[in-house]
Each structure stands twice: as C-alpha cells, then as structure tokens.
Symmetry: C2
Subunit: 138 residues, 2 copies
DNA sequence: CAAGAAATATAGCAATGGCTATAAATCAAC
DNA sequence: GTTGATTTATAGCCATTGCTATATTTCTTG
C-alpha cells in the first residue's frame, strides 16, 4: 500500500468517470475519420467500424447530439460540431502518442494498437505530457 | 490510419471486454487488501474503499460469487476463492508494474497512481512483459 | 437477555450500452 | 414516378452499475 490510501475512493471514481467518457471519444474520433475519408459519416458505417449493431450506433449518436458533440438530421449523415471536431483531434493525437510510447518501451506494434484503444482514455493530460517528453528525449 | 483498419471493430470489442472485467479485478484486489490488513473483508469496508454505496458493493459481491472468485455467507464477511486470490495477486503485481513504468517515463508519482487505476485493466500480458523488460533494462 | 445500534440484504428506480425485430424514410432503377 | 432495395429510426428487451429507502439480521451494552 502507498501513502495515498485516503484517496482510494477518488481514484476509482475517476476511473469510472473516464470510462463513461471513453465511448463518446471513440465515436467522435471514428466519425471524424469517416468524414475525412468519405466526406460524410453514415450510421451504417459508424456501426460497422465500432463493431456494434446499427441501433446501438444510432443511440450513441443521440447521446453525442445531447452532449453537443455532433449534429444529425434524421436519415441523414452525422457531423461533428466544432467542439466535437476539437475532441476528435485531441483523441487522435493522444492515441498516436500512446501507441508511440508503448512501442518505445518495447511493446510490439500490433499489440500496442490493441492495448492503446483501452489505455488512451485513462491517460491524463499530465501523463500525456510526460509521454511526449519521454518520446522527444530519446 | 494504419494497416490494421480491418480489425477496428475487434479492437473496440476487446476494449469493451476489458472494461467489463475491470470492476471484478478492482473488487478482488480490494478484498485481498482488506483480508491482508484486517483479517476479513466486510461489505461496509469494501463499499467505503471503492467509493460506492453499500448496496452497490453487495451487488458486486454477488457477481464475484457467481464468477467463482469469492465466497460469502449472508451477514458475514467476504472471502476469496483460490482463483480469486490468484487474480488479486496478478492484479496487484500488474498495478505496481504499470505505476513503475509510468514513473520511469516521467509521470509524477501521484498522477501515475491515479492513471494506473484505469490503465492497468487494458494492459495485456504481452504489454506487461514489455513493461517489465523495459524496467529491468534501464 | 432485551433493546437499541450497527451492519447487511432486498426492493425498486435510473442511466448506459448492448441486442433483435420492425416501421419508416430515402435511394435507385426500371 | 413507382416499386423494390437499402438505410435509418423506433420499440422493446436484457444485463450492468449506480442510487435511496427500507427490511432484516447481527452485535453490543446495560
């Protein structure tokens, strides 16, 4: 045990909070990718890439709209708000940094990609800055 | 984009799976800690340390019993099965390694503890091995 | 050992994130 | 421009993980 015992509940609360944001981040990044590649993000494409059924994607998109990250008209494509696009950029950059960090400490490329998907959502700004510093100073 | 585009849905599915196991791991580790410290794990203590209400802890313990990781009789303490104790040991070791790795690449101790709580559940055996190798070879 | 305090369990609610089945809207092609 | 195919939305289900309120059991103490 460490000297931080008193903060244990807060640690878990923080991890839970991060998890609740993770899905939003994944969807926003994916929508950003689709728009960049295809000019628009269709529900069917989003569902396929996320590996979920189409109604699941529709429901997630509703939440994105509620949170002000995306806009969509019924039976039309999905688009990101400025806030959503900013978030997508940050998520993408963080993902790259996490993969690079993992590779830098010896994790095989493919494994790094797989693990980064889960890890990235729990990397705070401070840790991300440390990762960048480490990568630069090698 | 990388050369792994075809596996994107599997990546997310894997991250989701890891998330569903994370809570079990946290509870098992915490119960192990409590037994080591106090000789037994009471529901009230588990709830307090996990930062959740007592019925939430009770419900989680039911799941642990269902999964064969813990045993408990009503109104009595909670104990780990052999499988649960093994899991607790592995989780604890992995947690330490993740914190050490983070510190090794420049993350401040306190931040490392916070972030590790979320990160550790997404660290595969292969990545963990790479972390250990990196730490040893410094 | 009886009563009150403390701990645990249960009931029931909400949000999230899955799913299938089906309805409704759009698109394509004749 | 209709019709059939495709796409999206909706309805309704399940499990999980939280919560509060309340019942029940155990513990403690006079």
């Amino acid at each position: 045990m460490t000297e931080m015992d008193g903060q244990v509940p807060e640690r878990f609360a923080r991890a839970r909070e991060a998890q609740s944001v993770a899905l939003l981040e994944d969807y926003v990044e994916m929508i950003g990718d689709l728009i960049a590649e295809l000019g628009e993000a269709r529900v069917a494409d989003i569902a396929e890439r996320m590996g979920v059924a189409q109604p699941t994607a529709t429901k997630a998109i509703s939440r994105l709209k509620r949170e002000g990250l995306a806009t969509a008209r019924p039976y039309r494509g999905v688009f990101l708000t400025e806030e959503g696009a900013d978030l997508a950029d940050r998520v993408r950059a963080r993902h790259r940094t996490v993969v690079e960090l993992l590779v830098a400490v010896g994790v095989p490329e493919g494994v790094a990609e797989l693990d980064a998907e889960g890890i990235e959502h729990h990397v705070s700004d401070e840790t991300l800055a440390a990762f960048e510093g480490f990568l630069k100073s090698r």
